[in-house]
Symmetry: C2
Subunit: 327 residues, 2 copies
DNA sequence: CTGTTAGCGCCTTCAA
DNA sequence: TTGAAGGCGCTAACAG
């Protein structure tokens, strides 16, 4: 492996000079620079990243911890992160927890000494986690969930939920069902649910117990939740608000299977603006969350923090309701 | 930052001894080991990865270069890679080229000195690329495309295409259209097309020129390609074979829009077993490529190569035709 | 403008 | 079973 020393010898200068042209810092005569550059070109020399890191205490790597890369939300966020980070010469070290909370903690340990900062695409806000993060005082940004004392980039889940609900009500629905997720996920589980309840209440609409069901983050569980709603309700709802597109699509597939028509017999809305949502039949009314922007913002805040510049502690992103034929 | 030296001092041993317990190599008395472990526990010490790398020439990091992380194929591969790599203490450094071939080359340079090996999820096999790869002689595996003299994990695109075509023919279709992609993508562009042509020929079926169209990797272009087929054909095909699910779904959305029924008026098949494919209406006949397995295999071969064990130069994965209602 | 020097934190002989 | 010493490749004062 060719090292800075070899380059120095070959170009007839000292290692410092080579280092100077590499980082173009300090003074280097045009003549020396050219000689060095020629040798670098000829040898295809690339400096060793870890030797550099050892010296500078900077790795130019950001750790990204996420629950899965197979769904659109995290992969869009990663795309946004990557785009912004690479602009500044940073790279991404990927840590996929596969929805395993244990691994979340483990990865934190694993990453702490190899990265300049961490982005967590979060699905929960358990104190164990936030505690640990604070304890290692490493630049840190959380995406998708709010937490005290950490930089976070979130969506306005509460108002989104109110808006979607209001949208359904405005379309004439008074009996609205809800498919949510477990409340350990604060953003998706609590805030969206609260938004739904609050809006219903403000409209003086009541909610039958069986109208509210819970699923996990996949299509199949949306299907099951819908089944339960249909089977257990005294009076069937005329509209369903599902907190994710996949749940909504699961619900759609169930009601279609039992011969109901959408939106005539039942209207359905989701959240997420997944690609799927435009191609199911009928196209699903949903909310665009701009996940790539979230990734970019997260990167910006993290880099600002790392570089000691001004950063915002909390960013709440904009959203857009996409009204389509399912309502 | 606490270093190995601090631990040594606190545990009243030399740095070497600490290093020995850290890597459990060489002899360490039980007594010394316990003292060291206690101090490590107490301080929460984690060794510096880059200092270690500098010494050992191993980073325990694998670079993964991919065109995008937003579609299912690459994200599934990455999941498989991650699963296998993490078992062996390796991590993933992600390089998203955003379909930019220039960046592919750049990333190669960027990564070469920071990783122990590279996995490329390839969309082309241009000599510039393979040349460069060979020139840097770094452990390397290519996923999805074949190339000479590099380890690769591929799918059997040619036979898949023949099988799908045969399946359509067996269902009674004799006029079959084809939506492909550009042939710079050898696997998807050439092999699948060749499989289609060869099977048609072996069945003595002719193909009208307008039946064969080309798109890019998105739904919209499938839609456009389908439009062209419908508008330009003298005789409309009764079945369409699209080389990816998204193209197929685009085609579906077009034919539905003009009032044709699937599969009554026209049958459609794709490749990829995307999640979308099961929830479009009707569910799409497609081929499951087992991308996660591809990722796992790629990781296994790469690690075997790195560790000087036996590896296979070429792995061709199995597939499964999923017959659904669109045919 | 350039070279010398001194580590960064770790592992690995080598000798004890 | 342990410690001393050297060096991985690089940068950053500091002195010329």
């Amino acid at each position: 492996m060719v090292t800075i020393k070899d380059i120095a010898t070959m170009a007839n200068v000292s290692r410092s000079t080579v280092s100077r042209v590499l980082n173009n810092s300090g003074y280097v005569s045009e003549e020396a620079r050219q000689r060095v550059e020629k040798v670098i070109e000829a040898t295809g020399y690339v400096p060793s990243g870890y030797a550099k890191s050892l010296r500078t205490k900077q790795t130019k790597v950001i750790g990204v911890i996420l629950p899965t890369i197979q769904t659109e939300t995290p992969s869009r966020v990663v795309t946004g992160l990557g785009r912004e980070l690479s602009k500044h010469g940073y790279q991404i070290l990927l840590a996929n927890t596969d929805h395993d909370k244990e691994k979340e903690l483990e990865y934190l340990d694993l990453l702490v000494r190899q990265v300049d900062g961490i982005v967590l695409i979060a699905t929960n806000t358990e104190p164990e986690l936030t505690q640990k993060i604070k304890s290692m005082n490493l630049p840190f940004v959380m995406v998708g969930q709010e937490a005290e004392n950490v930089i976070c980039v979130t969506y306005d889940d509460y108002h989104v939920a109110r808006d979607v609900t209001a949208f359904l009500v405005d379309k004439g629905h008074t009996q609205i069902g809800f498919i949510g997720v477990d409340e350990t996920d604060q953003a998706v589980g609590c805030f969206r649910k609260k938004g739904f309840y609050d809006e219903m209440k403000s409209r003086d609409l009541s909610i039958e117990e069986a109208w509210v069901q819970k699923g996990v983050f996949d299509i199949d569980s949306g299907c099951k939740a819908m089944k339960k709603i249909i089977e257990d309700s005294k009076q069937r709802p005329t509209a369903i608000f599902a907190v994710t597109d996949r749940l909504a699509i699961g619900a759609m597939s169930y009601v279609k299977r039992i011969g109901m028509e959408i939106p005539k017999d039942i209207a359905i809305a989701g959240i997420g603006a997944s690609e799927l949502s435009q191609y199911v039949d009928p196209p699903l009314t949903t909310v665009d969350y701009k996940n790539e922007t979230a990734g970019e913002e997260a990167a910006k805040q993290l880099l600002a923090f790392i570089q000691g510049e001004d950063y915002q502690k909390k960013i709440v992103l904009d959203y857009r309701l996409l009204s389509r034929d399912s309502v």
